[in-house]
């Protein structure tokens, strides 16, 4: 298992390099000019100098190589320094100072390091996306279990219909719909997610909960629909197996049979689906963040795209790619760990 994990980890390096090359190539082919916003009164030779200052004069392979160095060598050094010096978790380790003032990936919009902005935006996305995923799973698994157990019952029919609807309604429709109902007509919930809000007492905690309900539920609806379908299918596959009959025949209680024997076997494919769906939910967060004005990384990507801020776009898209590759790997490893029938060696 360990050799398999290591081999997959090593194999993911060329994958990531290839993806980064595709993204870089797309951006190179793009006709956009970062100097488009500079006033027309600036003479062309000055513009040329500005372009060279941004590193645009160099040939593409030099640009690509520099980006790789910055992303894979300089930024990790800064991250390790941050971890050992100031972070809560590893602050007790001896302070390191790997970072020696090398050039970092600089955003063309703000002229500040891209990763600093990403780190500022990350918590909002992680809170909303992570919480929605947890809520979605917590709702989905009981629904899946019960509708498989009561196959063809009213609950099963209704559950299948609702998950199908949740599967089909896009988040850019549910978002505005919820805003119209709960913010405009009922006035219960705020329509905009306020990221500057500080939680320090019970009242502010309630405000935070209220503003998180709608974005979290919109994302959770998608997760619930998908995972409860998988859960139901996996349970149905297992409920007719011989070992279930054996368990019942030897006099185990129904609760033990379903919740221990069947559930544990059905969770194997569902856990991998949960891991595989994680990157997709980050992608879906782009739309939800846009609807509810959450300033997370999805919204950052959109603004960077519109502002022609290529280093920012490149880095963010690549972060999404890393997430996908990482969670694919986690899903494969989990599958091997959970299912003793699977042998990778």
């Amino acid at each position: 298992m360990l050799t398999f994990t290591l081999r997959r980890l090593i194999l993911s390096i060329p994958t990531l390099l290839f993806i980064s090359f595709i993204i870089f190539g797309l951006l190179q082919l793009a006709p956009g000019d970062p100097m488009a916003q500079v006033p027309l009164t600036v003479p062309p030779e000055v513009k040329q100098k500005m372009r060279e200052a941004l590193g645009l004069g160099a040939p593409w392979y030099v640009q690509y190589y520099k980006w790789l160095i910055q992303f894979f060598w300089v930024e990790p050094k800064i991250f390790i320094d941050y971890l050992t010096n100031t972070s809560f978790l590893f602050g007790w380790l001896p302070d390191t100072s790997f970072y020696q003032d090398e050039l970092r990936v600089i955003s063309w919009q703000t002229r500040s390091p891209v990763m600093d902005i990403v780190m500022q935006r990350m918590p909002q996305t992680l809170w909303v996306v992570g919480l929605s995923y947890v809520v979605g799973i917590v709702i989905a698994i009981p629904i899946g279990i019960y509708s498989a157990y009561k196959h063809y019952s009213v609950f099963d029919q209704a559950g299948t219909f609702i998950t199908m609807v949740g599967f089909s309604i896009p988040p850019f429709f549910t978002g505005p719909l919820l805003i119209v109902i709960f913010s405009v007509y009922l006035g219960w919930l705020p329509s905009i997610y306020d990221t500057t809000h500080v939680v320090n007492d019970w009242e502010s905690f309630k405000v935070q909960i209220f503003q998180m309900i709608m974005p979290v539920m919109v994302l959770a609806l998608q997760t619930t629909a998908q995972i409860s379908r998988y859960m139901r299918g996996a349970m149905l596959d297992n409920l007719n197996q011989d070992y279930v009959r054996t368990a019942r025949a030897k006099g185990l209680r129904e609760g033990v049979v379903v919740m221990v024997h069947v559930l544990r076997n059905s969770m194997i494919p569902v856990v991998t689906v949960i891991a595989l769906g994680m990157p997709a939910i980050f992608g879906g967060a782009i739309i939800t963040e846009n609807v509810f004005k959450v300033n997370g990384i999805g919204q950052l990507l959109l603004t960077a795209l519109f502002a022609n801020d290529l280093p920012m776009v490149m880095t963010l898209t690549f972060i999404f790619a890393i997430l996908i590759v990482l969670f694919n790997l986690i899903a494969d490893v989990l599958y091997g760990l959970l299912d003793p029938r699977i042998r990778y060696d």
Binding site: T15, F18, I19, I22, I23, L26, L27, L29, A30, P31, G32, M164, V165, F167, S168, I169, P170, F172, F173, P176, L177, I179, V180, V184, P279, G283, G284, I286, I287, N290, L301, L302, L305, F306, V313, L316, T317, F320, A321, L323, I324, V325, N328
Partner: protein, 336 residues
């Protein structure tokens, strides 16, 4: 022993055993496979509803402009902000101001453009994008799947390539490609044609991977069967084997992934329009209509609801159609 009737002659005994083997009832006419599929499909109510609704929407957006021939782009600023016709039931204020009527059954927007004709022409674009992108994805996916399943030498590289494509971040890359390549394509094909080609191309090129994997798996299993061996032994060429022996046998997984592809394509196109990187602003699609109406949704909620419901119902019906097709095309479920 003695009670048992003893057959008079061996021939009679043979007739008796043979008689047990013949059918008591008259033979049923032979049934084709597709007739069985249709029988099973008809049992799935959701799928029948889904299929009919999809057919209805497709016909409505094709023939709608002939029945309702108002120009969706025609500005009529005096007749702006009409409400849908059902407002006449309770909304006396709108009736007094003359903002309800059969001239605009679904109302008109802030520039006086008729919403019904906008919905029809928007649906035309959305459905066209959906169908074309789905066909493109199917063609690429089937080609890759068949080639990598049939030719062992290409299998490894094509499947590595598919895995790589599967780990690309689709929505960010789509956003990227649409914003970056909008201008050059617009210059050569016009703002609408360029955008259409771009969106169809991108959705098609980013959603073929699942089809390729499914088709490859099926081809790998089919390739080892006796009928392929028989075909090869009489000297059939690879191209002919693929076309007339392998492709007809993988048609059912392709059809199921076609429905999934259509649903994804419609949603992706609407999402792009919603995020403001889709078609130009005076060119209605369902996603564009929805996005434009969001700013004023507390005053005119119907303008968000109508396109939103149209997208959701279409996708829902396509998904149900896929569900029914999956059941109908699976020979293990069929006939039960």
């Amino acid at each position: 022993m003695t009670e048992q009737a003893i057959p008079a002659s061996p021939i009679e005994a043979d007739m008796e055993t043979f008689g047990a083997l013949t059918d008591k009832e008259p033979q049923k006419p032979p049934r084709s496979q597709w007739f069985d599929v249709w029988e099973q499909f008809r049992k799935h109510k959701g799928a029948v509803f889904g299929g009919s609704f999809l057919l209805f929407i497709t016909l409505a957006v094709i023939f709608g402009p002939f029945l309702w021939d108002l120009d969706p782009k025609a500005l009529d600023i005096r007749n702006k902000d009409w409400r849908p016709i059902y407002h006449a039931l309770w909304d006396t204020d709108a009736v007094e101001r003359g903002k309800v009527g059969w001239a605009h059954p679904l109302g008109s927007d802030q520039l006086g453009r008729d919403i019904l004709s906008q919905m029809i022409s928007g649906g035309r674009v959305s459905m066209a994008v959906g169908w074309l992108a789905m066909v493109l994805a199917l063609v690429i996916g089937t080609a890759v799947g068949v080639v990598s399943g049939y030719f062992k030498r290409l299998d490894f590289w094509l499947m590595r390539f598919t895995d790589l494509a599967l780990s690309l971040p689709i929505l960010p890359l789509t956003l990227l490609a649409v914003t970056l390549f909008r201008q050059p394509l617009n210059a050569s094909f016009g703002p609408e044609g360029g955008m259409f080609i771009l969106i169809v191309g991108i959705i098609g090129m980013t959603s073929w991977m699942q089809t390729a994997r499914i088709v490859r798996g099926d081809i790998l299993a089919l390739k080892e069967r006796e009928f392929i061996l028989a075909a090869r032994s009489i000297g059939t060429r690879s191209g002919k084997i693929i076309r007339s022996h392998l492709l007809p046998n993988v048609i059912s997984p392709i059809m199921v992934s076609a429905t999934l592809g259509l649903a994804t394509a419609i949603i992706t196109e609407s999402a792009l329009s919603f995020l403001g990187v889709g078609f130009p602003s005076d060119y209605p699609t369902w996603g564009k209509l929805l996005a434009d109406a969001v700013q004023r949704m507390q005053y005119y909620p119907e303008r968000v609801l109508l396109p939103g419901i149209a997208i959701s119902l279409t996708v829902l019906s396509v998904n149900y159609l896929g569900d029914g097709l999956r059941d109908a095309l699976d020979p293990r479920i069929r006939g039960r």
